[in-house]
Each structure stands twice: as C-alpha cells, then as structure tokens.
C-alpha cells in the first residue's frame, strides 16, 4: 500500500528556504506573492496491511525519524 507523509514547519519557526524562495519570486516580478513556506512530502511504499496498523506504524516512523517534532508538524495520508 502507499502512504504520504506531509511535514511542515510549525508556526513561529522561521523558514529560511521559504523566505529565500519568496525573495526570489519577488525578484522575478511575482508581486502577488505574500508569503512562502516550504515543506516535505515523504511517499512510502508499504507491504499491505490494514489502515489502523498502517497509521500507527507510520506515526511511529514520524515520531522516531521522519519529523523533528521540535520544529515540525506532520500529517499522514493513506492512499489505499
């Protein structure tokens, strides 16, 4: 089965990448840009298992490795 983990910086954590991107976009003349935040997506290909097991399993992965909960939030999306 497939799953996607979305990782984004918590509010209040400054986002150097996002800031740099927004500067560049302004530099390129995209005036409409107010703010940019950059996040990560991690696509997992897993052996088949039921949704509950998957969710707990992936949550463990996030807690242990995929996300740094000091600065990041994460959300899990199961794609059948």
């Amino acid at each position: 089965m497939k799953a996607r983990v979305h990782i984004s910086l918590k509010n209040g954590v400054l986002d150097p990448q996002g800031k740099a991107i927004s500067n560049s976009l302004h530099g390129l003349g995209f005036e409409s840009v107010l703010d940019v935040r950059q996040g990560k997506t991690i696509e997992l290909d897993l052996t088949d298992m039921n949704k509950e097991t998957a969710e707990t399993e992936i949550d463990k992965m996030c807690q242990q490795l995929l996300a740094n909960t000091v600065i990041e939030n994460y959300s899990i999306e199961l794609i059948d």
Binding site: N23, S24, G27, L28
Partner: protein
C-alpha cells in the same frame, strides 16, 4: 529484436563509414545492444578519434613520472614512497543542461578516477567558464554549478582549494565546468585497470544501476542546438554520500591484496569499464547481466550496458577473495555482486535471461576505434599592439579601480566560501593566492596546486596561448616556492570538423608541447571536450591546465600578501609593454584585439628557477606573478591580501599605462627585507635575470609615483563587491 535501420545507426552517432567498419569487424549486423556499445566506444568522448593524433605529440615522460596518460589518472613520485595521482575532467554539456547535478556528478566522476587508483583524494580544483556576466542565463548557471561542486565535494570531505573563473560571451551557450582531483597513495600500492587471470571473478560494487544518463557519452560529443533541452532526461543525479562510502570501502579493500584490477564506471558506464579492463589486459570477459544490481524494473541489456548511473566500480578480484571483499562493502552498506569472470577468448560475452545478448571481439572494438586526421588551417597571427598603439587614459587611478572590479579580476571569494577548503586539516595556503598549498598529511612536505588558461590569448594566437597556459601554471606553482612536477589538461574546443577549430586545437597543442619541454613539465593525464558549440558559435579555445608542484619544506612557503612594513618591492623579469589582448584593452577601450603577450620560455624558466632558489633561501617575504591585469593588479592583490599599501616608483622607459597594465609574461613581484637587498640583486646579476627595486611597502594606500594613489579600502570595495552584487540580483532559469 529491433532491426538496425540507417536512422538507428545515425541516432547512435555513427557515420556510414564507421558502421561499415562495425559490419566488417562483426561479419554480421549487430543487434541493438551491440550497436549501442559500438556507438559509445567510438564516440568522440571515449575514442578521442579527432584528437589522438595530436595528443601523442605531448611530452609525457620524466624520471618522476610513474604513470602517464592512458590510465584513470596520472601518477608521479614525490619521494618517501609516496605518489601523487591527479587528473582533470570536463562536465560541460551536463552542467549547461542542469548546473547543480551536472557539476556535482562531474566532481564525483573525477574523484572516482583518482581513488580507483588507490589514492585518497586530498584536494579538488575547478576551472569554470561562463557566458558574459550580463547574459540572462549566467547567474543561474554560476549559482547552480558552484552549489553543485560544493554539494558534492563538501559532503565527500575533500577540500576544494582553488580554480579559475572566466566570463566571456563565447561561452553564452556552452559553459565549461572542468574539475580536477589530486590524491596521494603509496608507490607500492597503486591500482591499474588491466584485467588478468583467466577465471578470476569480475565484481560490481557501489550504487545500483538505473536508467540514468543513457547516451550521456554520445551526447557529450554532439553539438548543441536550440532544442538541446530535449536531451535533458540524460542528466544523472549524484549521491555524494554513497560515493563517500565507496571511497572508504575501496581504500579499505585496497589495504588488502585482493584486487587484481579496478576501474570506475564513468561515461558509458559498464560498457567502457569492462571493455577497457579487458582490452588493457588482452583478455576476454563474460558478464551475466542478470546479476547486475538494478534500481528499476525490466531494464534491457542495452540500458544496463549504457547506463551512466554514478558511484559504481568494476573490479577483478583474486580467486577466493570474494567473501572478505563482500564483507567490507556490506559494512559500508554498498552493493557487491560477482557478475562475471575473466576469459581467454578475447571476446566480451554478455548473457541475460539465459541467452547471449552480445558477443563482441574486444581488441578490434577498442583499438580499431576510428582515428581521424581532420583537416585544419592555421589561425592568422594578429598584429602586436605596442604601448603607442593604445591611448594613455586620463586618470590611471580610476582605470585601476575599474579593472579591479571587472569580471575577470574581481575576487572569487563568493565562490570559494561555498566550498569547504579546509577539511582534512592540511590546507596551508587557502584560495586567493597564486596556487593552493596542501600539506601531505603527517609530513613537512606539501603540494602546490593551480589551474590556469587564458582563453582570449588562445583565441588570438593558439600556439602562444597554449604555451602561456602551461607557463602560467608553472609560474603560479613557482610563486609559492614549489618545484613544478607535472600537469593534467582539459582541452575544451568547438567542432573539430571545422578546419579553423581544428587549427586552434593543433596550435594550442603545439604551444603546450614547447612549454612542457622547456619547463620539464610533462603531461600525465587529461581529457578532451569537443563540439562546445551552439548554432555554429564555438567557444574560445580553452586548454585548461592543472598543475602540481612539490614543496619539500612547508616552512619555506611563499604567499602573495605584503607582510612587514618597510620591506622592499622588486620586479623580477623584463616588461615589453605590449597591450594586445590585455584586460586593460578589453575593459577600458572595449577592444579584444592584437597579439597576446610574448611567451619567452627560456626567460620564463630562468626567472622562475631564480625565484624558487631565493624563496628556498628564506629571503623572500612575498611573491606573486604578473598575470591578468598586469603589474598594477598584481601589486593591488598583494596589498589587499596583506591589508597593507606600498610606495612604488617606476623607472621604465615605457609609458605608465603600459608598465602598469601590460600583461607581460614570466614576471613576478616580490618583497624582501632591506638588509637582503644587495645580496639578492647580486644573486640576480649572477643568474642573469632582470631584478629591479620598484618600491617599499607600508601605510594603507597604494601609491604609484606620477600615476595614482588609492586607499586599500577603495581597492577592496571594487575587488570584493563585484561578484556578490552580480549574484544578489535575481536570475531566472
């Protein structure tokens, strides 16, 4: 099995004549896999078919040369059982298409060339050429290339200690990214690529094989056109982390005696590595492609043989040593697979899914590679521009400031600060000097390393330009006190099928040859990159030269920084004042004209040997050669580096603007403490070299009598800010 049509042959970059040759070698039509193998083996990139004839004329021998061109890299002896192994290689086309990954994989490739021979890389260099600074693509390409070189080298933990960077419109459509790696090995533990020992296992190690860069090798030999963006999918992605593991694993295995032969998989991946190993050893090889570790589903034999996935090596092991070797690579979490064996058939036999997918004779394919004597015409030598032919400017101070802040002269700090140039703890002369100096770990010996080439000279007069490139390398090494030992080259040119371009190539080689001979400076490795041309516009001929010199005692190293207030400034060498092709002419008069400065190789030798001798005596407090921008720029660079000014009085009969800005060759500016002056002048007389006092250092401004007075701070602003300002303005891809 696809049948081979004219179109398929053409797509594979083989001429009809070459395809005839294929048919007569095989005595039958090749299948697609075999055709692919021929096409990469016979591509310009792998076969050197246009350049071979001329490369043979370069001097490659000296008592200290252990291994010249032909192996993965050249090897020289530096005494105490130690050898230096180095090479420079181009990754031009890939870097133009995807600057970050193109440059990164170029660095990865050249490092593999060096550690595959048993050396631990201790320094990286990079020689870069971009389009004019205001070309819309330049900033994007420069930013990406520098980030890519840093991204790979920094992760490997090998310091990037120097290089060179030029900007010129002739590179607008074809940038040049030439990377050089220098490594150190024990003379009794150097590894070569000749396969041997019938029955010995052939082993694949490193990353898995994917569909990366298929036809990269043929692409790297194809002229660009506007739709070259279509060639994009052939770009590979580098994995420096895996290469770092591969480096450590290889060196660990090399500490045992399990390896018979080893060869990295570079351009044309498994094909060229296996053929080169078999050909060099005069043996055959049998490979079972089912055993090649692959990253993707359903890869065909064609794809497996032509893939340019990075971070892979091919080895021949002694029989029975597989398991201990496997353990090492598995410890480093790398793939290790015995994929075949050495045979005595002289044929390359590839099997997959139980069938034979290719069966080719090794020698004919490798040796019968086409070799062309391309027609060429000599470049017209332009007229010499004397000082009188160039108007004197109103304000020499403004001129100097403008030149210090020009694209060719301005500081490259913005670049080298993105490279870890200190890791490994032996960088004793950082970027910013004439050559970088890197200590041989745990010794008092060091290597001086530089890369140089002045393409505008080569374009105006290929022979003089070729000689000048070699001479400037020799000079930059000498200026640190090092004994120049050998060079590697990276010959970047346009389309060799055009006689004028071929003439540039022939001329540069001729000049290089003369310089190498006079300076005892053999070529031990190199690389040729042709077809650097877009819509018929070729690049300036660019024979980038990388040189290495030996400093026997690190305490005797010279740097360019002014040091002690009151030291005397001396000019070593004679000035002609010729202004052709000078930065002055280009920046102030907007002209790129005339003959380049004369390169007098015997004076070059005499002056350099004299300087090295007095540096060795410990009486030189600073040394810097005169190059781009002339004497005034050399003095400014020494002042900036030492954050100290100087009072200069010039007694030359030449007009001031010529004395200050002519790019006379074979000249150096040095400083010594006053009490040594008479002695040094006497030594110069005896050595029959021209040495004259031109001033004294001190205070915080550069004062040149009758010409200019500028504060160090103003000089620094112009020099330091140009590149940061350029890169601060946003560029689009």
């Amino acid at each position: 099995m696809n049948e081979i049509t004219k179109d398929i042959v053409a797509e594979h970059g083989l001429t009809e004549g070459e395809y005839e040759e294929v048919l007569s070698i095989l005595g039958r039509t090749p299948n697609l896999t075999e055709l692919g193998i021929f096409s990469v083996m016979w591509s310009e990139h792998c076969s050197y078919k246009s350049s071979k004839k001329w490369l043979k004329t370069l001097p490659t021998e000296a008592p200290w040369v252990i291994c010249g061109p032909g192996e993965n890299a050249g090897v020289i002896d530096i005494g105490d059982g130690q050898a230096v192994i180095f090479k420079m290689e181009s990754h031009n086309h890939p870097s133009f298409i995807e600057p970050y990954q193109g440059a990164a994989t170029g660095v990865g490739g050249i490092m593999r060339d060096v550690f595959t021979m048993g050396a631990r890389p201790i320094a990286n260099m990079n020689a870069l050429r971009f389009g004019s600074a205001d070309h819309p693509k330049t900033r994007h390409l420069l930013a990406g290339v520098v980030a890519g070189i840093g991204g790979y080298g920094n992760c490997m933990g090998v310091p990037t200690v120097g290089g060179e960077t030029n900007f010129h419109s002739s590179y607008d459509g074809n940038i040049l990214v030439n990377a050089m790696t220098v490594g150190v090995a024990d003379t009794d533990n150097i590894f070569y690529s000749a396969a041997a020992g019938v029955g010995n296992p052939v082993v694949y190690v490193g990353s898995k094989t994917g569909r990366d860069g298929i036809h990269g090798a043929t692409m790297a030999s194809a002229e660009f056109d506007d739709d070259s963006d279509e060639k994009r999918p052939t770009v590979q992605v580098g994995d420096p982390f895996t290469e770092k593991l591969l480096l450590e694993a290889c060196l660990e295995l090399m500490a045992t005696d399990a390896i018979v032969a080893i060869q990295d998989m570079g351009a044309a991946g498994l094909t060229s590595s296996s053929f080169e190993m078999a050909d060099k050893g005069g043996v055959g090889i049998e490979l079972n492609l089912d055993l090649v570790p692959v990253r993707e589903e359903a890869m065909t034999p064609y794809e497996i043989m032509l893939s340019e996935s990075q971070e892979r090596m091919l080895m021949v092991l002694k029989p029975g040593r597989e398991e201990e070797s496997r353990k090492i690579f598995e410890k480093w979490e790398l793939d290790f697979s015995v994929i075949g064996k050495v045979t005595d058939t002289g044929r390359m036999v590839l099997t997959m899914h139980g069938g034979t997918v290719a069966d080719l004779p090794v020698a004919p394919l490798a040796d019968a590679a086409p070799e062309y004597d391309r027609p060429w015409v000599k470049t017209e030598t332009p007229p010499v521009l004397r000082a009188e032919d160039v108007d004197a400017p109103g304000d020499l101070g403004q001129v100097l400031l403008k030149i210090m802040g020009s694209s060719e002269i301005a500081s490259r700090k913005w670049i080298w600060e993105q490279y870890d140039h200190m890791v490994m703890g032996d960088t004793i002369q950082r970027p910013g000097g004439d050559a970088a100096v890197v200590r041989i770990h745990n010794t008092d010996k060091a290597l001086a390393i530089t890369t140089d080439c002045t393409p505008r000279y080569c374009f105006a007069d290929p022979k003089t330009g070729g000689a000048q490139a070699v001479a400037e390398v020799w000079r930059n090494l000498t200026a640190t006190g090092a004994q120049p030992l050998a060079i590697t080259d990276c010959l970047n040119f346009g389309n060799p099928e055009r006689p004028d371009i071929m003439g540039q190539f022939v001329g540069c080689i001729e000049g290089m040859r003369e310089a190498c001979e006079t300076l005892d400076f053999p070529v031990i490795s190199g690389n040729v990159s042709l077809y650097n041309e877009t819509n018929g516009q070729g690049i300036h001929p660019t024979p980038a030269i990388g040189g290495v010199g030996l400093l026997k005692d690190t305490s005797k190293m010279a740097t360019l920084a002014f040091k002690d207030e009151g030291d005397l400034v001396l000019l070593l060498g004679t000035q002609t004042g010729d202004m052709g092709q000078s930065i002055y002419l280009r920046e102030i008069e907007g002209r790129e004209e005339g003959a380049p400065p004369i390169v007098n190789l015997s004076d070059e030798r005499k002056n350099g040997d004299f300087l090295r001798q007095i540096i060795g005596l410990g009486i030189v407090t600073a040394a810097h050669d005169i190059s781009d921008g002339g004497l005034a720029v050399a003095l400014s660079e020494m002042a900036l580096s030492g954050n100290m000014g100087a009072e200069i009085t010039l007694s030359s009969k030449l007009p001031l603007h010529a004395t200050l800005f002519a790019e006379d060759q074979g000249c150096y500016v040095i400083t010594i403490s006053p009490e040594n002056c008479d002695d040094v002048l006497k030594k110069a007389k005896n050595a029959d070299v021209s040495l004259q006092r031109i001033g004294t250092i001190g205070h915080n401004e550069l004062n040149i009598a009758g010409a200019l007075t500028i504060s160090i701070d103003m000089l620094r602003q112009e020099h330091a800010n140009w590149m940061p300002n350029l890169m601060a303005s946003q560029s689009r891809k």
